[in-house]
């Protein structure tokens, strides 16, 4: 009888917490704290404490499925892969779109983009990072040289002032909250922007800027104007480390503070307090997430927060900077590996030069040189779709409209671990291995690369994502370019053409608990916890100000749709809920969709707590159970995105950021009535 504690990393968010799996006779029977791990030191959030249950769900996809006569039927890998290969051979490059997963490994992601570019010949490869953190790239690459998190989780503790912008860390990043609490114990102040009075607002924030949805850019403009008026900008930093200040100052001279107060709904004294607190800090740390990113002005929002950081000299120091908070186990890695229509691996922009580089690296010719379609465009424009570990039918705005488009697709392949909303529309469904069912590396939020070892076999015929893609590549005549026999083979190739990963090896990862932060250019390089210590990653090494113009939300309340609607998360569930709804202890906490309604609003329309209400927008309607709470202010409704039966994105508006192409899922106009 052998009972073994096997260390691994939690499969959920992007913090990268260590856990011990308890394995007996080849089966995971429990989990225990792994106190040595530097990220979480033996603690875990509710999801992390229930990490492994989802892999044993009876719903796991075990066999390849092909739709015959309207029904998905089990078949062999041979039949399924032959069918997919033959169908893909029909497609012209522009007609094909690949959506990779934020939850696949680096090895999987690398193979997926290589397949799309080498075998199909298009840059139509994206991953779900497009929907959430594309503004990090469009705003922060010009501003500072990279959209990745700038400092590391342990170093967050060094900050003496936190600016939590649109990120409810109490529920979405508890491990980061742990760091913030440590800093608070040493006197750090916490400023928090969110239209809702979440747990973060009530129990963590010293200053809660409860702004009106979608007014973040105006708020930051006001803060920066105040900072300049008070003379609190970091003059030395601005002079020596930045460019474009004059244009920003000009732009800010037009800011009317009284107007800003009206627009944002935040009292001016509070804006002032926040501005002065942040500016006067030694080491200000901006942590931001979807609250400012998922807007049609997401890029502008992030630009403005970057401006704020540069204005006050809060960048290029450990525990400082403007930090995008990715939410998935490979949110960072998927982008690093090039699953974006505008980037080859390692963030080399799609153009002739990069194509040439990879033609040499891969021993191929004719790599595509023009940017491909972005995620949402792809779904509407490509009749041949390959979707791995993603559920557009849950996460893309205006889902009803998307469904109409997808129903017209020629061929949809879905590769996943569970049946999902999108798999209902698929022609072929392929069963994938997950997490500890394969050997893999992932890259967590602070560019932390860690290795996951295989602990158990995948169920039935399920296979690692990369294996499936390689099988297809072989059937399409490219066996020699996809001759990988293990994930180790793939990682070696990654190292050879992605300079940020060059110094990271499986061997080093096995010996380094907590992983290695990229950039890691050489095998004796320790990795880079904080970026930009000497200079920024821009061509001139300077931080660049980018003045923005405030634009109100794409759709605001009116008589017909009198409420703001916003969407978000609960601590107990994870994104589309596929994993957590199948984890009993988590699902027992919240098992169905709900809508937060302010007591005043509830009173006005006769809604009581637990009443089923119908929520309607110009896009569609859903039902949800009312949760009457002052967590939302009057005029705002909140719906989580975890439940297919109350799918938040039936309601949301497909207004896209023009450069980032993420959507305005955080604000639209809705009405509500009690379901009779």
């Amino acid at each position: 009888m052998s009972i073994e504690y096997v260390p691994t990393i939690c499969p959920y968010c992007s913090c990268g917490c260590g856990i011990h799996l308890v394995v007996k006779d080849g089966r995971i029977i429990g989990q225990e704290p792994w106190k040595e791990h530097p990220v979480n030191e033996g603690s875990n959030c509710p999801k992390g404490k229930n990490a492994y249950h989802y892999i044993y769900s009876k719903d796991r996809l075990k066999m390849p499925l092909v739709r015959k006569n309207g029904e998905l039927q089990e078949t062999s890998w041979e039949e399924a892969l032959d069918l997919v290969a033959s169908k893909l051979k029909e497609a012209t490059p522009e007609d094909f779109g690949f959506i990779a997963s934020c939850r696949s490994s680096n090895e999987d992601a690398y193979v997926m983009q290589k397949f799309t570019r080498v075998v199909v010949g298009t840059n139509n490869v994206e991953y779900c990072g497009r929907l959430c953190h594309s503004p990090a790239a469009t705003a922060l690459i010009p501003a500072m040289g990279s959209g990745a998190m700038q400092t590391s989780q342990p170093e967050i503790e060094l900050a003496d002032c936190f600016f939590l912008a649109g990120v409810n860390i109490n529920e979405t990043f508890p491990m980061v909250m742990r760091r913030v609490l440590r800093a608070k114990a040493r006197g750090a102040k916490v400023i928090y922007t969110d239209p809702r009075k979440t747990a973060t607002a009530r129990y963590l924030a010293d200053i809660h800027l409860q702004l009106r949805s979608g007014t973040d850019a105006a708020l930051i403009d006001a803060m920066m104007r105040i900072i300049l008026d008070e003379g609190l900008e970091d003059k030395e930093f601005i002079a020596s480390k930045t460019a474009g200040f004059d244009e920003l100052r000009d732009s800010l001279s037009k800011v009317d503070l009284k107007e800003a107060e009206k627009i944002t709904g935040v009292p001016l004294e509070k804006i002032r307090e926040a501005a002065i607190t942040y500016a006067k800090a030694e080491r200000g740390c901006i942590l931001y997430d979807q609250g400012i990113s998922q807007h049609y002005v997401g890029t502008d929002n992030v630009r403005n927060h970057a401006n704020l950081a540069l204005l006050c000299g809060h960048a290029g120091k450990p525990g400082s900077g403007i930090n995008s908070m990715r939410g998935q186990i490979n949110g960072e890695g998927g982008g690093d590996m090039g699953c974006l229509c505008v980037f080859y691996p390692g963030f080399k922009r799609v153009d002739e030069e990069s194509a040439k580089f990879f033609e040499e690296a891969w021993g191929v010719t004719n790599l595509p040189t023009k940017p491909g379609f972005t995620y949402i465009d792809m779904l509407y424009k490509c009749p041949y779709l390959y979707i791995v570990g993603a559920d557009p039918m849950m996460v893309v705005p205006d889902v009803n409209n998307l469904k109409k488009a997808l129903e017209k697709a020629n061929f949809i392949v879905v590769q996943d671990i569970f049946p999902t909303e999108i798999s209902k529309l698929a022609h072929v469904v392929l069963p994938a291995a997950t997490w500890v069912e394969r050997e893999a590396t992932h890259t967590w939020i602070d560019r932390r690369v860690q290795k996951i070892n295989k602990v158990v076999d995948p169920p039935g015929e399920a296979k690692p994502d990369w294996w499936i893609i390689c099988q297809l590549a072989e059937r399409m005549g490219y066996k020699d370019k996809f001759n990988f026999t293990s994930s180790g083979d793939i990682f070696e190739e990654v190292r050879s053409c992605v300079p940020q990963y060059k110094g990271i090896t499986y061997e080093r990862l096995a010996k380094t608990i907590g992983g290695i932060h990229w950039p890691c250019p050489a095998e004796d390089h320790p990795g880079t916890p904080t970026m930009f210590l000497e200079k920024f990653g821009t061509p001139d090494g300077l931080g660049h100000f980018q003045a923005v113009e405030y634009k109100p939300p794409a759709e605001v309340p009116d008589e017909e749709y009198p409420y703001f609607l916003t969407t978000g998360r609960s601590i107990f569930h994870y994104h589309t809920g596929a994993m957590t709804r199948r984890t009993p202890k988590l699902n027992d906490e919240i098992s169905q969709g709900f809508v937060e309604v302010n007591p005043e609003d509830a009173n006005k329309v006769g809604v009581k707590d637990k009443d089923v209400v119908t929520l309607k927008t110009r896009r569609g309607s859903i039902e949800a159970e009312a949760k009457v709470t002052d967590e939302v202010p009057p005029g705002l409704l909140f719906v989580p995105l975890h439940f297919p039966d109350s799918c938040a994105n039936v309601l949301t508006i497909s207004a896209l950021d023009p450069s980032a192409k993420c959507a305005e899922t955080k604000v639209c106009a809705a009405n509500m009535e009690v379901k009779r």
Binding site: S2, G42, C45, N170, P174, L181, A199
Partner: protein
């Protein structure tokens, strides 16, 4: 017999060489298996040689015992939990368990609650003056000792000093008071723990009173322990000598000194709470528990929290489901249910994501109750927990009823 004391030494050359203090424990464990006194040994091993990740291991092959020789100070695995969660409380397996005093106390409390079959266990106790938190210990090695944590091959705590030995043979020493003043050193609960010698186990083994680094001091603490030692001696696994009265006295003095230090820490730890007014305390604890994220880490880790069907689960309807922070009743119910028997193992506080001072609170409450009920958790299997035991005297009080 119970109370006997020995200076012991392993009879095995290989064990004697590898051991830190005479190898008696290693030999005894080997004997436990070879002599078929138990089915398995439950000990702690450095996972893959990692001294900061001591994991419980169930060993049935006597040849593997030597891999667990020595003490790992920079790790704190939850042995009592391993027994109940994965070995069915030793219901049908005879196990020799290597236990620090807190492990032994936790096991005895669980046995009182019929979660562990104490008859099936042979508790091999080890003296302990504290362990260090794993992740922080590694930082300490880098920052304070200026060594690579993986170069450390042994640690020793003695006379309030921490000494480490590196793989090249060099040793470095630092005062624990200095380290602990800077946030390093031992786990908080260890610092205030007065139980250094596990007399509640079947035997208590350690270096205090040992003649030199090639001997182990053993105190026999039960008849089961006495039988076991006699048999081990007879089977030629260890040799023993009578300790001198000086040795016994030295050991007593070391224990007293350690206990005094622990009492000082206890006072220090609880001082800020005791100084607060009732209002201040309310505010403090409501504020602390407002950070709880309902991970159930404390509940899972606590040896006294043994209910299979926990009252605090989301599907029980007592604490509202889906809320973070959970109602204050969550930590309050847990505290009131376990406080009469808290053994100060610190496992709860180790795993709290928000670093709430759980062990500090609950052990403080326990010290109050210990005085009121004259009850020391984990010492005597026959002393029943006061909050679930009704005495005849209590039943005789007017207005007291017992409904079963």
């Amino acid at each position: 017999m119970k109370g006997d004391m020995h200076i012991a030494r392993s009879s095995d050359k290989e064990i004697l060489e590898k051991a830190e203090h005479g190898g008696a424990v290693t030999s005894l464990l080997k004997f436990a298996l070879e002599g078929k006194r138990v089915d398995a040994v439950l000990a702690v091993k450095a996972r893959d040689g990692d001294r900061y990740d001591g994991i419980p291991v169930l060993i049935t092959n006597p040849e593997e015992i030597i891999e667990t020789t020595g003490s790992l100070h920079c790790t704190s695995p939850n042995i009592a939990r391993f027994l109940t969660e994965y070995l069915d409380g030793a219901s049908n397996l005879k196990i020799a368990v290597v236990v620090k005093p807190c492990d032994a106390k936790a096991i005895i409390e669980l046995a009182k609650r019929t979660q562990i079959n104490l008859d099936n266990l042979l508790l091999i106790g080890l003296n302990c003056t504290g362990t260090l938190p794993s992740a922080k210990a590694k930082t300490m090695m880098k920052e304070e000792f200026e060594v690579d944590p993986t170069d450390v091959v042994a640690e020793d705590i003695e006379d309030n000093k921490l000494t480490i030995r590196l793989n090249d043979g060099t040793e470095k020493e630092k005062g624990l008071a200095e380290l602990e003043g800077r946030g390093y050193g031992r786990r908080e609960n260890c610092r205030r723990c007065e139980t250094n010698i596990p007399v509640m186990a079947d035997i208590a083994c350690g270096k205090w009173g040992a003649t030199d680094k090639k001997t182990t001091f053993i105190e026999v603490c039960s008849e089961k322990g006495a039988d076991f030692i006699s048999a081990a001696i007879e089977a030629g696994h260890i040799t023993v000598e009578q300790p001198s009265s000086d040795a016994i006295e030295t050991r007593k003095k070391k224990d007293e000194a350690a206990r005094e230090l622990a009492q000082q820490w206890q006072e220090k730890d609880f001082a800020s709470f005791k100084e607060m007014s009732a209002d201040e305390r309310f505010n403090y604890w409501f504020d602390q528990f407002s950070h709880c994220i309902k991970c159930y880490g404390c509940r899972d880790a606590c040896p006294i929290c043994y209910c299979k069907d926990c009252y605090l689960e989301a599907d029980r309807g007592l604490v509202a489901a889906g809320e973070v922070p959970p109602s204050i009743m969550f930590p309050m119910i847990r505290a009131t249910h376990v406080m009469d028997s808290c053994v100060n193992c610190g496992q709860c506080q180790d795993v709290c994501p928000m670093e709430l001072p759980l062990s500090r609170l609950i052990f403080m409450l326990n010290r109050e109750l210990a005085g009121i009920f004259n009850y020391e958790p984990g010492m005597d299997i026959n002393a029943l927990p006061p909050l679930r035991t009704v005495t005849d005297a209590e039943l005789a009080v007017e207005g007291v009823e017992l409904t079963l």
